[in-house]
Structures are given as C-alpha cells and as structure tokens.
Point group: C2
Chain length 228, copies 2
DNA sequence: TCGAGTCGAATTGCATACAATTATAATGCG
DNA sequence: CGCATTATAATTGTATGCAATTCGACTCGA
C-alpha cells in the first residue's frame, strides 16, 4: 500500500467523522506537514476523493469538503432503492451456505445489541450493519454494482439514518435482516429484492421524518434569532 | 482547463478508438514525451481513468487498459436497465418544452440518416444518439444518476450495440425515440420508463446475438487452426 | 463614503530529480 | 539441463522547487 492510499483513507475517515466539516478546505501543505509527507501523495489522495465525490476541487483554490443538502440525501436514497434490491436479487441465486451462515451470525449479534439497548450500541450495530451489507454485496458477484454502491452509500455519520430510528423502527430493521436471510435461503430473488426495498424505504421514511424535524427546529431558531 | 484534464480526455479518446488496445500498458513517460509534458499531469489523468474504470493500476508496474469480457458487457446492460428507465421517469415530470423540441429534432435527424442509409450513417447516428441520451439525462436533473451512468455507459466503439443492429432493429430503435417523446410530452413517468426499458432490452438482445455469432466464429477459427 | 483597480499573499499546477519496487534476463549451482 | 538466485533495467512512487492563478485587502479616485 502506497502513501497516497493511506492518506486517502485518513482524509476520508476525517470527513466521515466530521473532523473536516462540510465547506472547509483540505490544504495539501497542511496535511503534508502533519503526516510528514510531501504534497505529491496528498494530491493523489485528494484527486481520488474528488472522483469519489467527497470533496470538490476548485481550480487553483483548493479542495472543499462537499456539503450535503436534503436534496442530496434524497437523491442517494432514490439510487439505493434502485440498486440495492438488485444486489439482494443477485445474491439470492448465488450465495453459498457459508456466506449465509455468516450473515445470520451478524443478524443475531445485531439483535442482541438491540435487545441489550446499551449506551453506544447504535454505533456497534452500525458497524455490523455495514459488514452485513458488504457481505451481501460480495455474494451478489457484480463488481460494477459494488463499485457504484460503494461510491454512493458512504455518508458522514451525522447523516446515518440509523441514528434517527425509533425503537420500533430499529426492531423492524432487524426483522428485515431476518426475512432477507429466509429469502436468500429459499433462493427467491424477487422476495429478497422486495425485502431490501422495504428495508430502504423504511430508512428513507425515518430520514425524512428526521429532516422535517430539523427543518422545523431550524425555522424555530431562525425566527427566534430574528426576534432577538 | 488544466493540462491534466486535457491528457485525461486524450487518453480516454484513444482507448475508445482502440488506439490503446485492451491489455496494453499506458506509460507515463511515453505519453509525457509525446505531449511534451512532465509525468505529473499524465499521472493525474491516469488516476482519474483508473477511478472511472478505464484502466487498471498495477502497483509499480503500470496502467493497463481494461479488457472487456462478455460478462462485463452483460453487467453494464443490467445496470443500464436499472438506471436509465429512472432517467426517463424523472425527465417525464421535469422536462421543459424547449428541451423536448431539441430531442424531437435529434430524433428526426436520426430517422433521416436511417432512411438515407448512407455508408457511414451509423457513426453519425451514434453521435446523435449519444446527444439524445445526454440531453435526456440533463432533463432528469439528478447529478448523481448522471455521474453513475456516465462512468458506466461509455464503451469502446467496437463494442457499441448500434453497429450490430439489423435494419429492423435500427428502425425499432428510432421508434423508441419517438414513443419516448410522446411519453415525456404526456408527463407520464411510467410510460417513459417502460419505453426506455424496452429500448435497452432490445439493444441487449442485439448485443447478445452478436456475441453468440462472434463466439461461434471464434470456435470455427480455432478448430480450423487446430486442423491446419 | 463607495467603487474600481492594483498589489501581495496564499494555494494549486507543473517540471524535474531521486528513491523504491518490480519484472526480466543472465548466471551459477545442483 | 532445469531451477533458483542475483543483478540490472524499466517503471512507478515521492520529494522539492518554481510558475501560474486566484482571492482578498489596500489604496486611490470620484
């Protein structure tokens, strides 16, 4: 692995974590100095981040971390609703027993964390959930579909719909994982795709509810500041 | 526009034209010398080509032009059948009169070329066809969907399904363009999506037929060379 | 006081030189 | 004669220096 690869992952992680907030500039010289590297590998990493849609390159001015509007979030959901059911459909006729077992184990661990209801259980569930979807994608056996989704679904943690779920919605999500396993086990692509679609539409609904809530609060704050 | 941008377009064009055949290596030094540039902008262009899936970067060895297998072609069709109907669906409720007129003009010119049946009419039709689809995409108003498709649909000319159409299939394709215009004019997303789907499935069928033909010919040649 | 123009600082874009790595081919050994 | 090993050449990976461009602040004029 080259230095540029490492820098790429470091910067991406910082964007995801919110360490580099939306709208801020990622300076080649600053990062190079911090990581004790020249600007060259930093530049390469930034160009990759540009093509992956994480930052926007403004000629001769810098690399700006992209801002996510509600419209962007909706656009991503629209694409996921198109593509991810296809992942499930393909996986249904291709997945092997061992992979299916692994998915089941992940589902079980998520359910356990869900029941437990600890403090930062959500974060752990999110990690397992990512693993679940990644393995499903691998089972689908379509490198292009995988690449497309990988460039799309990655979203800053602050935007993860997971964190806006009610207790019921979280339980429903766990149920989807289970049902998807049954559909996969039955080799039923239509069923699998349908479950995945429901899974995503549920997530979208939760996100929309959250966005409306934020919108209202924002309006409230705005009007208050206007009054003040 | 920077030098790296120009290099990117030059190399991509050469890959499309078959000037850089699949499997060959694109050397930084060679292109730099030819274009009288240093390796730096060449490198940037190559990295972009890698993320766009045109070449494969082999660490410390070079950038290799990707080879398209029949499986790759099928994968691309599968994705297009998912995504492009959505383009049509979105466009149906968003397109404006002026854009619609422009599409109609393009469709007319393609039909004229088709009737004319000149020697290299196919090439001209292909250009107009690309324009038609690009404008439709613009009318859909989804930058992400556009980016996704742009990175997917570009395919070396030698692979364009257009060139494998029978006369009837070409006429059918023209008819699809017309029907899509009617659907868009009616603002009917379902209709538009359905027409686009047919359009793509027809293209896929033509490509499959062509592939089978090549396969057979290849087998024949192979057996002949075995005999010889 | 406001606006236009100009100058300067900051940042990226590109060229060049060097280091690291890998494939290849020659060579020595079994 | 075949295989492993090593040396070499070719290529990419990285560092550094300079050029080009842009943005912002300051000055000058109305």
């Amino acid at each position: 692995m080259t230095a540029a690869d490492r820098v790429y992952q470091i910067i991406r992680k910082r964007i995801l974590d919110g360490q580099y907030p939306a709208g801020s500039y990622v300076r080649e010289a600053a990062i190079g100095q911090e990581l004790e590297l020249s600007r060259t590998p930093i530049r390469e990493a930034l160009r990759r981040l540009v093509s992956d849609g994480w930052v926007e390159a403004i000629p001769h001015h810098g690399a700006q971390v992209v801002s996510w509007t509600q419209r962007d979030v909706e656009e991503v959901f629209e694409l996921r609703v198109l593509l991810e059911p296809q992942v499930a459909r393909r996986a249904a006729t291709r997945i092997e027993r061992s992979q299916l077992d692994k998915l089941e184990s992940l589902a079980m661990r998520m359910e356990a964390l869900c029941r437990e209801g600890r403090e930062n259980a959500l974060e752990e569930i999110a990690v397992l959930n990512d693993d679940y979807h990644a393995r499903l994608m691998a089972a689908a056996g379509s490198p292009r579909l995988q690449r497309l989704l990988e460039t799309i679904v990655q979203v800053p943690v602050s935007r993860r719909s997971f964190h806006h779920y009610t207790r019921d919605e979280l339980a429903g999500s766990m149920h989807h994982h289970r049902e998807l396993l049954r559909a996969l086990g039955a080799g039923d692509g239509d069923w699998a795709a349908s479950v995945m679609r429901s899974h995503l539409l549920a997530a979208r609904a939760a996100q929309l509810r959250f966005a409306a809530c934020v919108e209202e609060a924002g309006a409230g704050v705005a009007s208050m500041s206007r009054r003040g």
